[in-house]
Symmetry: D2
Subunit: 405 residues, 4 copies
């Protein structure tokens, strides 16, 4: 019989973390013994537990460790990290440690060392400058890659105290919730972030244009509430269509009349921009002087339009290489305090994949399944809102006292 | 080979009615011949067609006629209606004519006679006062009941001209549509109906309370935009819970905090009303002095809370007998110009079943499947809106310039 | 400063119950102190905790107690229950205890006494035969009604050990799960219940008929897998339509052709049954000799068709009074081991309201929002499955080796 | 007052085309006059109409023509096509004709000439080999580009006769339809296409893996029912995860247990393939010898995995450049008789954009909104099925008598 002793510290009880750890162990049909537990007696005290796990073999122990490590459990005693060298580019040794999106430390040289560039699904490489999260595709032959979970300590946000207005919203996804409070909470965060010189990034799908949310979002950008914009080709195309032809997906934005012949307006908008060479050139020529893309360019905030298999055009500004698009996205979200995900599952998941768990995320979509999926991924601090994104942005603009005229 | 000649008149081409008629015939594997067709040459002219259908037997002809009759087709030559006597209560002769919700005439005594109490799925009974739509359950033994479709002429709204702002909205259900126009259109209708002394009836589910739409709806009632209210036990219970305990489904309406212990607030609200004997009595006692139910009672508009198998309580005002509830609903919608269906599939279908096709209906729900289902039933004049009902009502209140303070 | 000491026992850690209790206390902005905690050291040992809560006043303490009582927390020391007399029929004293659906005991006469007729949202009345859950509407003037949560102990299923195949399924609702395992799990339960002489009750919506699930469900009834049937008027109407006219909602069940003229087939089916006076009479007359309702009647299992505001007809067997329908539902689920909820939110919520938490429930619907709503209510033992109910029942029939020919 | 005379031919009445044409004219507030109409008198005869449209200016006439041209209307008299030269790469003259996905002819050199490479949203270029649909981005400076709709004739499928089993299914999207018939219809088409040496292409999302549909789909490929495979990185990753680790998204495929630690299995699968350099290399090394990707490679059918912004990895075979991915997709669907779209909105829309309207398409998804969106785009011949794709593929495998052992 093999055994291993784990340590857990933090708000283990109220966060449900201790519950999850024990369930993982039992889920693997292993036995455990809680050797010591010092339960926080009050709401400010933390809990500390030492748990020994018993298994037939080391493999089972390692498996459990890989599962409970993301919850903050780490092996007692401090095992110095093992690094194995990559045998070829874009390939890690089989036992590689796969990162979470939580703050992480590695035990090496007999002390805990912080990991930088935190993101999920990465490997950790030892470099002269420290320990760095690196995507598998960026591994170079000979890189020393962290293996096993024995020398890793993770700090899930749930184990730390969260007591602000944002936190209590993060529990459940429902379309049966009063919109008032959610709008207020987000307006409050936006004001706070702007006042603090922070960064709020928007991920935006074309539904924002169709549902009439573009003027509100443009005003938010104009007034400095948004510091970066992530989308695809479609949101830009429909914004331009809306500016040049007054339609979105061929539907008149003023009368709502589906001008069916307008089915090719989006192609005409693309062609027009192609004539100038780029969105930016069309603005400089004075041809494009309003709308969402105009406001983004004018405000000078960084943005990336990621290409996709379903794109028409695409527009000159669209980034068609996905490796490059992910790199640009990653650059734009650096240092973000909050990310607003507006009705775009594809780009929102892409963004979520590269976002650390301590960044607040807000997902708004009319489809509850999308909201659930997105809110689940942003483990730490995600609000999911099932609502009409056009109405929501306009209600937000009222709270932010924006001039939409 | 049997044959039958049908006549069709009205806007047959642009409405798609002629298309549907021919497809029904072909769908039954029968042949047809268009004997005469006088196509309306301009947008104001109507079309008239005579079509002979050929079949092996009379039964096939009758079957086709029963299918195309709801589209306005009627047999050439004027066949006097056949009435058979019911052999027992709540039972029609096998060949009974089943009504549509469109305006209908019966050929009898060598002339066309209007049918009253129009609703779908009813039989037509000949009475001394004329021809009357009657539910099967209301048939009395000996009633003369119209059989066959040969002597019936139906006027579907699609065959008549519709050229107002409401009409163009009725095409498709989508969550990807600008909310602006739909809100404007409905606000315009509401003002018009009020100005004309018309009647707008609301069908309302509890989601209106949860999503914070109650103050807006209450203000609409207060200002005379609504002339009748149809709902169930739940919407009233949650409104009362909201008034007495500040929660809805146990969620605090101000802070949005899910006060889980609040799971029994709705029972306490019911018990409190039971203590007074009725909602009305609680108002008279001064105990209940705000909220949706208060506003309904105060405004004196007729209302009905229909019971259901899932009710808690129910409240004293809830009508637990479904036959009685349908009767009250039916009474309240009499003469309605518009029906707003707010997030309640159950009560909305119930209402739709008894509504003539010339009444405008607007269905708002966050679930596209519900909206599609409801909009499909209201063949003539239904707008389906996929949106957040709380946000929608508040946007409507802004357009109607209502004071929500 | 007031205080109160609570006791908690059972699987508090792995179930997350201790976590929830502490969060409720903090959610009310109160302080607590864990006086004693004896954490179960292994997977079979239970945990016991004594927690003192501090508040400004007794009201806050009572509020917290009302929230944590459903999780199994009870006041230390054994406070004899207080009963107040009802001052009028259908009305409880304001401080009444509102029951959960978990097994419950009341401390009275210095000992813990079991409560019978357990259901949620009821009051507890002291009778000569013991303590009985009673709906508010059934209270009689003068009934002694339990007040406060101080003398109540609740046993949530989560605090007890659950280690079977059913348990692990109950975690999440998703349409992205392999159907194989869910079908196997349910088939296994059905066999087990039949072998043990247990009771499986079906709650069934009309979608089961439309999607072609009726033959599979009928075979399950025929072979003794189902011991009770709960539905509404619609499922019976469409089953009869299917038998008499080969259509469901007017759609041909064999060819799938939407025979639009078939829109009145369901009315003809109702009329035909009305001619016999009842479904039962139609069977006895030999007119109805196949289908779901036929099989239910033939098998002699108890059933109830609850009426609703949207009913056509209704059929003679439909129970139009909701008080009576709830009573019949309640009688049929008595002693149920499992409840299968098949695509009927209305009747499933109605059933869930009266079901104790120890009854296994399985909810199948193609709409994830419905499944989430239903699975959430059945706190203890609910599986939620997002799937096509017709395909699902047929896959289940294959696993149960049923002859559908 | 300007005027223009249009000709329409084909099944104009029963298809609803004439109705749509008149509604477009009226929708632009223009008047029309039907100069001649020769209505097909029987179900096999076609209709021919000449309609003169009146407008204030030529622009209005051109606008209407651009809208009714996709429905088959063309200008009377035969106007020779006007070609303007592109002034720069990827840019068309402003008045360019934007193509539909229907069969198209251009009137030039006083005769009608077929257009090749038909797809929607393209321009038509005159080349020595004929008239060719070309994407805007592929335009070269100096290309002669068709302008205006005056010399174009389009043949929408609706105007031609369709009388097979596939056609009648294409009417509506609903989750309330018997699965039997849809499964039968598709199985019949698959057998027919295989027998005829035709081509059926699958578009496939990762949900097929999660829901247990992969063995059925693999067997369909093995038995020659599928001639091309379109997907993204995710479906391949999860298939490999399933093969190497027995999980999909970390959920055990056999037991259904969510092995939460399995959250990084998909990264390990990617890393493993990276070790070999490609999926193909892993198969050649004998490391990968079962599953969907294995079967695709083994069967030698062409496939393309299109990259996206949300990809992990990506796998070596994933095409990260969207321009290249669209080119490969386009190549694979060439000559397709049917396209099965399995739970992947992104790739299905991408595919639909490049598919001619005469290709049968079948869209299966559990989300009705997705199915509606996809079925609407494939105007001609699209079946939309709201169902559980795993159950559906397995039911299909039974009908096709495939060995899944």
């Amino acid at each position: 019989m093999k055994k291993m002793t784990l340590i857990l510290e933090g708000h283990l009880i109220d966060s449900g973390i201790l519950s999850n750890v024990l369930n993982f162990i039992v889920g693997e049909n292993l036995d455990y013994h809680i050797d010591k537990i010092d339960v926080g007696k009050t709401r400010v005290e933390t809990t500390r537990a030492e748990i020994t796990i018993y298994a037939e073999n080391d493999k089972s122990l390692e498996l459990v460790l890989s599962k409970v490590s993301p919850l903050g459990a780490y092996e007692k005693g401090g095992v110095n990290a093992v690094f194995e060298y990559s045998s070829k580019d874009a390939h890690a040794p089989e036992g590689f440690y796969s990162s979470t999106n939580h703050r992480t430390e590695v035990y090496a040289d007999s002390k805990w060392n912080a990991v930088s560039q935190q993101r999920m699904d990465a490997v950790v490489i030892k470099t002269p400058e420290g320990f760095v999260c690196t995507k598998i595709r960026d591994i170079k032959k000979g890189d020393p890659i962290l293996c096993g979970s024995e020398s890793v300590r993770v700090y899930p946000p749930a184990a730390e105290k969260k007591d602000d207005g944002f936190a209590f919203m993060t529990n459940e996804v429902s379309s049966e919730r009063s919109y008032d409070i959610t709008v207020d909470t987000i307006a409050h965060e936006l004001r706070q972030i702007r006042a603090d010189g922070g960064r709020c990034i928007v991920v935006c799908g074309p539904v924002v244009i169709h549902t009439g949310g573009a003027p509100a979002l443009s005003a938010m950008i104009r007034e400095g509430f948004i510091q970066g914009f992530l989308g695809g080709n479609a949101v830009a195309v429909h914004d331009l269509e809306s500016f040049y032809y007054g339609t979105s997906l061929g539907v008149d934005m003023k009368s709502g009349k589906p001008t069916h012949g307008g089915h090719n307006h989006h192609m005409r908008a693309i062609n027009r921009i192609n004539g100038f060479g780029s969105i930016k050139a069309a603005i400089q020529a004075g041809d494009l002087n309003n709308g969402l893309m105009y406001q983004i360019e004018k405000s000078g905030i960084p943005y990336c339009l990621a290409g996709s298999i379903r794109d028409d055009g695409p527009l000159p500004e669209t980034v068609n290489d996905m490796i490059e698009a992910q790199a640009q996205y990653s650059q734009i979200i650096k240092g973000a305090d909050m990310i607003l995900m507006l009705s775009s599952m594809l780009h929102s998941i892409g963004t979520g994949n590269m976002t650390p768990s301590w960044v607040k995320t807000v997902c708004i979509d009319i489809n509850p399944a999308v909201v659930t999926k997105l809110a689940d991924r942003g483990t730490g601090q995600a609000i999911g809102i099932v609502s009409d994104v056009g109405l929501f942005l306009n209600a937000l603009a009222v709270r932010l006292e924006l001039d939409l005229s």
